[in-house]
């Protein structure tokens, strides 16, 4: 027997690359990669200093923190959630390193371990309240955003704490096998995230939870556990981002990182993921983070005022969000 013949959408799935390129869905999924290529070409033409080894290396290093945060955000978004707390989790992690290492003389390893544990705990608390108590993710993570910010400020008494560590300086400035440590850490985390989302049960379950929570539950997927784990991943990566930030600036700054928070969400959207969940692309998210960093880098090289930079970045994000409306439709 046979059922219906292939639908247009199904034909699209098996169609040629050219057919795929004719769909708005394709462009929404590839917005970050295409935008990054365009930005690189344009800035290379407009300024001779953009495409130099030194600038590209600095650009990649400065993108690493956002890459980590965006990948963490990707895990949560894949499960149809959002994590607004990372803008405060990162400073909390930094504050813990500052207080433990600089003020109390603990070893760097202990300070980092404590920061990672605390940030993971924040994620677990977020996930548990959201998944077990059924509270809106937006409200819960906005609430923890405030609570954690207060804790970080209390820890360092509102001051930025200088952290003098040769190890952290080496991490920020040196390379391994010719690749800067920050870049290497970003690459390793991205590869691990890609493997986790697309090649493990946890990853597929996250996509199922984000795509259709009820269907996933009906098929035996442990929905609450998966959602809690997604927030924990976001938390631990915010902790790792805190280590890089302390390493880069040589200090623990408790200030909120709202720019990084917004950019992490923007990178995920630019990467082609739906904020409604069920879709993920680590390559796209990394490309999104690189695109946002490239825009800032390029504008700075072109001496464009700081006031204009957020406007340009915002317009790019809105463009990507508009394109994402066409996911699942033909052009």
């Amino acid at each position: 027997m046979s059922t219906a013949t292939a639908t247009p959408a199904q034909s699209r799935q098996g169609g040629s690359a050219l057919d795929r390129a004719k769909t708005l869905e394709f462009w929404s999924e590839q917005a970050a990669v295409v935008g990054l290529l365009i930005a690189v070409v344009v800035f290379s033409i407009l300024t001779s200093t953009f495409l130099t080894t030194g600038n590209i290396s600095d650009l990649l290093v400065s993108a690493a923190i956002l890459v980590l945060l965006a990948i963490g955000q990707q895990f949560v978004v894949a499960a149809a959630g959002i994590d607004l707390s990372i803008g405060a989790t990162l400073p909390l992690g930094a504050a813990l390193i500052g207080v433990t290492v600089a003020r109390h003389g603990w070893s760097l390893g202990t300070g980092i371990a404590l920061a990672l544990l605390a940030c993971t705990f924040v994620g677990l608390v977020n996930g548990t309240i959201i998944a077990k108590l059924g509270v809106s993710d937006f409200i819960v993570t906005l609430g923890t955003f405030g609570v954690i910010n207060g804790l970080a400020l209390i820890l360092v008494k509102g001051d930025t704490v200088a952290v003098n560590s040769t190890t952290l300086q080496n991490l920020a400035l040196n390379s391994f096998l010719g690749i800067r440590w920050f870049v290497l850490i970003g690459l390793v985390v991205a590869a691990a995230a890609h493997l986790t989302i697309f090649h493990t049960r946890f990853g597929v379950h996250l996509l199922a939870i984000g795509g259709d929570r009820d269907a996933a539950r009906s098929m035996g997927v442990r929905v609450a556990r998966g959602r809690i784990a997604a927030y924990a991943v976001s938390g631990v990566l915010a902790g790792l981002a805190a280590v890089l930030q302390v390493s880069r600036t040589g200090s623990a700054d408790p200030s909120l990182q709202t720019n990084l928070l917004l950019s992490s969400i923007a990178a995920v959207v630019l990467g082609g993921s739906s904020l409604f969940g069920g879709k993920a692309s680590i390559v796209g998210t990394v490309a999104g983070a690189l695109l946002l960093t490239t825009l800032i880098n390029g504008f700075t090289l072109l001496s464009v005022s700081d006031y204009y930079q957020p406007i340009a970045v915002g317009l790019v994000v809105i463009g990507a969000a508009v394109l994402s409306r066409f996911q699942g439709r033909t052009a």
Partner: protein
């Protein structure tokens, strides 16, 4: 690394060794089951016997208790009183996984498919093959293609996303998942409610073929004509109680409708459970 053992049961049920029990013997039974939700009594001493190898229909108006009874069979709800039996033995399902472990699979009315995932991911959801931490994607895709190819001529490829499939193809994927994992009973909740005429016919043909190969099916349907086409026996529910059980060979649509609406009164046939109890 060792392959997980929990997934070794994925194949066409009809390809598996014959069970000890013979066709016609009771496979799953509800005996005087009651279920209340607060002040609402959803099931009132409901009894139903599904025999091995039959297509058994469960019909009734909205709110008659069909879904609640089905959810007791699938482990979603636990009865307040009464008994569930599987192969003649009393069973208690604390969770859907308990029912699945006995080979009871369900095709949900909403199909329970994740649209953005591929067909193979939906077929193996929650029971993925894996070596260590990593999925055995190739093996799962291969088994999905084998299974769908055995059910359909124009089967969607295992890598197709469900979003791109027609209604009939989606239904077939949901049925294939249930059939692939089931070793005893497939429960189908309104399997053609959202389909057109041609796709309904294709799904009915598929169920008939699987039944011919020995599959036991409990079919929930509003469509009395469909019930007469597909089922050998039909149980009618009304207001939480079983009000009749008919052989479709001898019953007509008007008999079933009369029981559904209450026009036939309480002339219900005694169930096997009641017969056994004397």
């Amino acid at each position: 690394m060792a392959e997980t053992t929990e997934t070794s049961g994925f194949s066409l049920a009809t390809d598996r060794p014959e069970p000890d029990a013979k066709p016609g013997e009771p496979l799953i039974e509800a005996v005087d089951v009651t279920k209340t939700f607060g002040a609402v009594q959803a099931l009132r001493d409901a009894s139903l016997t599904v025999r091995r190898g039959e297509v058994h229909a469960l019909v009734g108006d909205n709110g008659a208790g069909k879904s609640t009874l089905i959810r007791c069979f699938t482990g979603v709800h636990a009865p307040n009183s009464g008994e569930l039996r599987f192969d003649g033995k009393a069973v208690r399902f604390a969770a859907p996984s308990d029912a699945r472990s006995l080979g009871i699979e369900t095709v949900y009315q909403d199909l329970a498919l994740v649209e953005d995932l591929q067909v193979w991911q939906n077929l193996f959801m929650g029971r993925e093959l894996h070596s260590g931490p990593f999925l055995r994607r190739g093996a799962m895709r291969e088994r999905t293609d084998e299974l769908l190819g055995g059910l359909l001529v124009n089967a969607p490829p295992s890598h197709a996303r469900v979003r791109g499939l027609s209604g009939g193809q989606r239904q077939t994927v949901a049925i294939a998942r249930a059939v692939g994992w089931s070793s005893s009973l497939v429960i189908m909740d309104e399997p053609t409610a959202a389909l057109g005429v041609r796709e309904t016919k294709a799904v009915e043909e598929l169920v008939a073929r699987l039944h011919g190969e020995g599959l036991t099916v409990l079919l929930i349907s509003h469509d009395v004509e469909q019930v007469l086409r597909m089922a050998q026996r039909v149980t009618v529910m009304r207001q939480g109680a079983v009000v009749g059980e008919l052989e479709t060979e001898s019953a007509g649509a008007e008999d079933i409708v009369a029981l559904i609406t209450g026009a036939a009164g309480g002339n219900r046939k005694r169930t096997d459970a009641e017969d056994a109890a004397g």
